[in-house]
């Protein structure tokens, strides 16, 4: 901290805390202490206050101790001559700033003007600002931080001088896979508005997040980071030191400021430094170069716009893996969520309006594949009219010494996101229901269908080099050829499904571990079996097997399951030994198929949580997209808080959606027949597979006897309904 910065930060913190105090007093007078106050759909209350101080603010009255803490830790102003040490006081002032700003945002924008922020992932024409991310967004996006598709975020304060610079910076940050969290204005300009005016798609899907127009919206970025530490790191609320160190070590965020840095901005900057997030400024403010609180420098200034992203990444100590893909458009995960629609569409293949698109990845003998050969058979984009709709077949042929037919579907499934990463290309679906849109902008930049081949060639080599030695891609737009490929592909799909269907935990000697998320959940370890996918839903047993082939020392390691300790509950000697080691002695043994007796531990990225519903003698299952109340008395997010972080919690277990229809789903307690409640949408999503499983269990209409939120969200509400429907769980052995 330099003296100028510390003095300004402390001054700024005083102003901010005073303002929050005033607003709190006014609100208290108006509404009384019992008035409920919250950010929307979150189990983390006002997350910085909750994480750092451990105080769950549920009502206005709960803000009192927070305000008092702000006052207590707010330091004296820095003396001009012979000042006392100021680094620590300034850092404290920064934390007080965040507490006060969370209070201010809650009062101003959630209590007094509840329509100020747009709910959801995208801004609307009327409302640009998104405000606090709810837990659905936080978990969905948080997983990207966990698996590394997003290495961190840039918290933006203000706006660069021109739209053009804003667009260029945003693109550069996207190309580095970073999220861009935008707050505050510079002389009335905000970067979010600049981007919107320039026609850039903003919102969570493109990682350009317009949090809010005020400086105080910075707390939504910091609150996101604080929640990540609690939900993925399993850190207890109030364990402030661990939360801050977690962020320093694992969340690679930094702040960028544009224009004059006000006292309030300095105060926010000081707060960010507590998290190990350095500040990069475009103006010549004092620098703080010695290291310590952040990994490297704390404040670097006067950085030209064309160097800002590179400088920020270097100062934060971040290594961004950007794969070079030879396509004429920007390429990276930040463009995955970009939409192409209406006027923007140059051409559309597949989907409801255009003929079928099929995608098929297959392995061939070495001598039949010419690496890098990309053919377009039929017309390419420059040979069709703008707005043309046509069918297509994408055939990727792979050869490799360690390639196995089992890996084909894994590679094939990558096509969706690999193609989507190209800016201006939208991709939905897979297999024979794939759907492409190419934007006019992409076409104008030179994007052609052959580039789909370039992407697959580059990324298959880059990401799957361990199994792919040679890759060639054929793209068919000739309708006759498309039909031909479609028929072959469909028969392959059928064979693959039968193979996966036939794979059981009994038939395989080797399971795989998954510690991919140990970058975020350091003590968690998943054990992935053929019938139990990783609880994030992203890794099946085959995925893990392939990942092990590709990277033998990576996060997926084979586990010889060894002798069964309890075959029915799913406990094996080899698995116990592995888990004991990998959990650093925290978990001695566990049952893969039980919810009651030593269930598997959960990180923070599970798709679903099942919890015992004792009075219904069953279990309820909720997925992370369902924001409402459940019969457990907790929303998903609160459940996640009690289940996550590598903990073993009997009566609760995190799992993937796919696992619900597995034969091994809570087999120890009676399996699928125990499910008494699921959100309606989850029921519909799973219907086909579920009904098949239910029929095997002899209750083909089980799904319709399972309650959902339309029946009730408490056990008292659903129990009579279940009884009336004759739900099998009611008459099963007592669960407890």
């Amino acid at each position: 901290m330099s003296k100028i910065i510390a003095s300004a930060a402390i001054r700024g913190a005083h102003k901010i805390v005073e303002r929050a105090e005033k607003k709190y007093a006014e609100a208290l007078k108006k509404h009384g202490p019992g008035k409920e106050i919250a950010y929307p759909n979150t189990g983390y209350y006002l997350p910085i206050i909750y994480g750092i101080l451990g105080i769950p603010v549920k009502t206005l009255g709960d803000m009192k101790p927070v305000i008092e803490t702000c006052r207590r830790i707010l330091p004296q102003p820095v003396r001009e001559m012979h000042h006392l040490p100021y680094l620590a006081p300034a850092l404290d002032a920064g934390m007080a700033t965040f507490f006060a700003e969370e209070i201010e945002e809650a009062i101003d924008h959630y209590l007094e003007k509840p329509d100020f922020y747009q709910m959801g992932e995208d801004p609307s024409p009327e409302r640009l600002w998104l405000g606090a991310a709810d837990d659905v967004i936080m978990r969905k996006r948080g997983v990207e931080f966990v698996d590394g598709t997003a290495p961190g975020f840039a918290a933006i304060l203000g706006a660069p001088p021109t739209k053009e610079i804003a667009v260029k910076l945003a693109l550069e940050l996207q190309e580095k896979n970073l999220y861009v969290f935008m707050a505050a204005d510079t002389e009335g300009r905000t970067m979010s508005q600049q981007l919107r005016e320039a026609g850039v798609q903003i919102g969570w899907p493109t990682r350009l997040v317009p949090f809010g127009p005020r400086t105080s919206a910075t707390v939504f970025a910091i609150g996101f980071a604080t929640r990540a530490a609690m939900s993925f790191g399993g850190i207890e609320p109030g364990d402030f030191r661990k939360i801050l160190i977690y962020n320093k070590d694992r969340i690679f965020a930094f702040a960028l400021t544009f224009g004059t840095v006000s006292d309030e901005w300095y105060a926010n900057g000081a707060g960010a430094i507590n998290y190990g997030f350095p500040v990069i400024a475009d103006t010549p403010i004092p620098e703080v170069l010695p290291t310590g609180v952040c990994t490297y420098e704390h404040v670097v200034s006067n950085v030209p716009y064309d160097k800002m992203t590179a400088k920020a990444v270097e100062v934060r100590g971040l290594k961004v893996m950007v794969s070079k893909v030879p396509v004429p458009v920007s390429y990276g995960p930040a463009f995955e969520g970009e939409r192409v629609r209406g006027e923007d569409i140059f051409s559309e293949m597949g989907g409801p309006k255009a003929p079928t698109v099929v995608e098929w990845t297959t392995s061939r003998p070495m001598d039949e594949v010419e690496d890098g050969k990309i053919e377009v058979i039929g017309p390419d984009l420059d040979e069709v009219q703008p707005g043309a709709r046509f069918g297509m077949a994408v055939l990727a042929e792979v050869a490799g010494r360690t390639m196995q037919p089992d890996f084909e579907p894994i590679l094939e499934r990558q096509i969706h996101h690999l193609v989507n990463y190209a800016k201006g290309v939208m991709h939905i679906g897979q297999r024979d229901i794939a759907w492409y849109r190419i934007s006019k902008d992409a076409f104008e930049k030179g994007f052609r269908l052959k580039h789909i081949g370039s992407i697959l060639h580059a990324k298959y080599h880059g990401d799957f080099g361990g199994i792919c030695d040679k890759v060639q891609v054929k793209i068919f737009t000739d309708p006759k050829k498309v039909v031909e490929i479609l028929a072959k592909a469909r028969s392959v799909y059928g064979r693959r499904d039968a193979r996966v269907e036939g794979m059981t935990d009994e038939s395989e000697k080797t399971f795989y571990s998954c510690t991919l998320c140990q970058s975020f959940a350091p003590s968690h370890v998943c054990v992935v079996t053929p019938e139990r996918t990783g609880l994030c839903g992203a890794y099946s047993w085959l995925d893990c097997k392939a990942a092990y082939e590709i990277s033998p020392t990576g996060p997926n390691q084979p586990i010889e399951k060894g002798k069964a300790v309890d075959e029915h509950k799913g406990q094996w000697e080899g698995v116990n030994a592995f888990v004991g080691r990998a959990s650093r002695g925290n978990v001695a043994s566990y049952n893969a198929y039980s919810i009651m007796d030593n269930p598997m531990t959960s990180c923070g990225c599970f798709e679903c949580i099942s919890a015992v519903a004792p009075s219904c003698n069953g279990i309820m299952t909720v997925d992370r997209d369902y924001p409402g109340m459940t019969p457990s008395g907790m929303k998903f997010t609160t459940l996640a808080g009690s289940v996550g972080g590598g903990a073993m919690t009997p009566g609760f277990v995190g799992h993937s959606k796919y696992y619900i229809t597995s034969r091994k789903f809570v087999r120890a307690e009676g399996g699928i027949k125990r499910i008494v409640w699921m959100p309606k949408k989850l029921k519909e999503d799973l219907r086909a597979r579920f009904e098949k499983r239910a029929a095997e269990e002899g209750v083909p209409d089980l799904l319709d006897r399972i309650a959902d939120e339309s029946v009730g969200t408490t056990e008292e509400e659903i129990l009579p309904w279940l009884t009336e429907k004759g739900h099998p769980a009611i008459s099963m052995d007592p669960l407890m």
């Binding site: 901290m1 680094l87 620590a88 404290d92 290291t291 609180v293 970058s519």
Partner: protein, 655 residues
């Protein structure tokens, strides 16, 4: 001898780097006993046998003297050699120094226990957090127990450490594990403070321990009983009773005396009574009494280490360091000088006789002809303080001529090791990490503890100032205690502005970032235990080895004079920190023992003593020693910046 200020022909030799002292010497010409400098001149040349540690008068067969070059002085009457004699002297100095700190510590512990029991009016537990930390380190159960009960147990345990017969004393456990293992291996874990002092006295008496190595091992054990025992307990319990110091602005030098106020100078070492005097001096009834006597109020100031204690906790100004005690009286503005124990020259009573100053002794251990004795009663500390302040007020009207030099300087003090921890990261991220990081990246080259006294054998403060300026110019962060800190404070080095002016680029950047001076005042000489704790904290933070001996850190006492300095030096060496002393050194005539101290201890302790009277050469030697440690740690070359990808993040330790 240390360098003198530039001398101009015809002018008298300057005795001090401090203009206030030089100004006051004109007022001291008529003193019957002269000043410390006059008396040193009269004593010079001093007995070289004594100087070099070669005079043995431990039995009535002697005194014997030794001279390696002269055959007749090769052996003492009992056959003892120069090396054994020097070693015995040295160990006795350690025992005396340890006894001084530890008797102070015992007094604190006893008052603490009385306070915990509610039997010492005016004292209370001010720092509960620290109490709990000490309780844990002493192995006292905390649970949901009442603070009072914990405090009583801590007090009882602390008092017992002094008389304990079977060690090791519990606070050794605070040291780095590797250091603890070395102590165990060498068999030098202290069993109890008193026991080690007694054994040292026994082993150094006629006809007992005649092996210099065996002697210095006992010397080390005794010194450790000081550093990790008596001294540390004194510091820790004082912090609990009076508050752990935090950064505070203060002033230093004779200019802090005020012409129109009752000036009370607190001299000596123990804060127990002086804390109460601070309270009483602010009492409106006392101020009214002072006004009734024609004064505008009451002005407290300190001398020597008591000054440091009340500066660190209350910002009470410092009138000066050890060599200021006579010249302060000569200002004619001191209405009372309150003295407890240690470093109080008998001359003050004689000097006071020429002015109106009342010398008030307060500790039954330390009485003096010509002084008034008012015994400090820990059970009625406020009452004692009141009596003393009243005596000072009474004396105000007796003032004669007053001459206060207009010399003073501001300083920042209060850097306890806990505070440093806070200062480097704030409430939420407190840690030594930024310090370690910046040592590793070379902005800070290393750490130096520059401590100790004044001695008239060195131009007052000159060696401290020169040494410290050279160290900080070379990016060495300096930690100070005692009179050494006051010397540099008078020069303005303890101000944050000194960083830009005197420090090297790297150190200045760190000082600017944290807002600290390049020289940190950590307290009184008993507080050198804070430096041990800070060094241990640096080791435990990681990245700089696993023992104090691995650190690029070194200690120095360029103007030392007290036996306490030798005890401190030995506990630093035994804790793994190299030390280097100036002025004079009491083993120079005994080549074998000198070699053992200066080289031989490296093998066992990982640290040695050194002697260097020239502060510039001393600075060079210290920087070389720091650089050697940096090279051993492999941090002498700059490292590539590490950029982290996801795989590297996964490999980070959990939590």
């Amino acid at each position: 001898m240390a360098e003198n200020k530039e001398e101009k022909p015809g002018e008298p030799k300057a005795v001090s780097a401090d203009p206030a002292v030089n100004e006051m010497l004109c007022d001291c010409k008529e003193l019957p006993a002269g000043t410390v400098w006059d008396r040193l001149a009269k004593q010079t040349p001093q007995c070289t046998f004594g100087l070099d540690g070669l005079c043995c008068r431990h039995c009535a067969m002697g005194p014997c003297r030794f001279d390696a070059k002269r055959d007749k002085f090769k052996y003492g009457v009992c056959g003892v050699t120069a090396d054994t004699v020097a070693a015995r002297h040295f160990v006795r100095m350690i025992a005396a120094g340890t006894a001084a700190h530890s008797d102070h510590g015992r007094g604190v512990a006893e008052t603490f226990l009385a306070a915990a029991k509610g039997e010492a009016k005016g004292f209370e537990i001010k720092d509960e957090q620290k109490l709990l930390q000490i309780a844990m380190d002493l192995g006292i159960e905390i649970g949901s127990r009442d603070t009072k009960d914990i405090a009583i147990d801590v007090g009882t345990c602390a008092v017992a450490i002094f008389g304990s017969q079977h060690g090791p004393i519990p606070l050794l456990k605070r040291a780095p594990l590797k250091r603890q293992a070395i102590w165990k291996e060498l068999g030098i874990e202290p069993r109890g403070v008193d026991r080690e002092v007694v054994e040292s006295m026994h082993r150094t008496t006629m006809g007992v321990d005649q092996d210099p190595l065996n002697l210095i091992m006992q010397g080390s054990r005794t010194a450790l009983a000081d550093g990790w025992g008596g001294s540390m307990l004194a510091t820790e319990l004082q912090d609990v009773l009076f508050g752990t110091p935090q950064p505070i602005l203060g002033r230093v030098n004779l200019g802090v005396l005020e012409k129109d106020k009752v000036n009370i100078l607190i001299h000596g070492h123990e804060p127990l009574l002086s804390e109460m005097i601070v309270v009483v001096a602010q009492d409106p009834s006392m101020v009214a009494k002072a006004k009734a006597k024609g004064a505008q109020g009451i002005n407290l100031a300190g001398i020597c280490c008591t000054a440091n204690e009340i500066l660190m906790r209350h910002g009470v100004p410092i009138a000066g360091n050890f060599l200021h005690q006579e010249v302060a009286i000569a200002t004619g503005a001191v209405d009372a000088m309150i003295a407890d124990v240690q470093c109080v020259m008998e001359a003050v009573a004689r000097t006071a006789g020429c002015f109106h100053t009342k010398i008030i002794t307060t500790n039954y251990r330390a009485k003096m002809n010509g002084a008034v004795h008012i015994q400090f009663d820990e059970h009625d500390a406020i009452g004692t303080a009141r009596q003393i302040v009243e005596a000072a007020i009474e004396n105000f009207p007796n003032r004669k001529q007053v001459h206060i030099p207009n010399v003073q300087c501001d300083l920042i003090a209060g850097f306890s090791h806990e505070t440093i921890n806070y200062l480097l990261g704030g409430l939420f991220r407190a840690a030594y990490k930024p310090l370690n990081d910046n040592i590793i990246n070379g902005r800070i080259r290393g750490l130096a503890g520059v401590v100790g006294c004044n001695t008239p054998k060195v131009v007052q403060d000159s060696a401290h100032i020169k040494l410290v300026k050279e160290l900080i110019a070379n990016d060495v962060l300096v930690l100070q205690t005692g009179c050494a800190a006051q010397a540099c404070a008078k020069e303005g080095l303890l101000l944050p502005e000194a960083a830009a002016k005197h420090a090297g680029k790297g150190l200045a950047e760190v000082c600017e970032a944290v807002g600290i001076p390049p020289v940190l005042h950590m307290g009184s000489c008993v507080d050198n235990s804070r430096i041990l704790m800070a060094a241990t904290a640096v080791v435990k933070e990681g990245g700089l080895g696993d023992d104090i001996t691995d650190l690029p850190a070194i200690g120095a006492a360029p103007e030392w004079m007290s036996e306490k300095a030798i005890a401190i030096g030995q506990y630093f060496v035994a804790s793994g920190a190299r030390v280097i002393f100036g002025a004079t050194f009491p083993v120079l005539g005994a080549p074998g023992f000198k070699d053992l101290l200066f080289k031989g201890l490296e093998k066992t302790m990982g640290a040695v003593w050194d002697f260097e009277p020239d502060p510039s050469i001393m600075a060079r030697k210290m920087i070389e020693a720091i650089d050697k440690k940096r090279a051993a740690l492999g941090i002498d070359k700059s490292k590539e910046r590490v950029l982290y990808d996801m795989a590297m993040r996964r490999e980070l330790d959990a939590g």
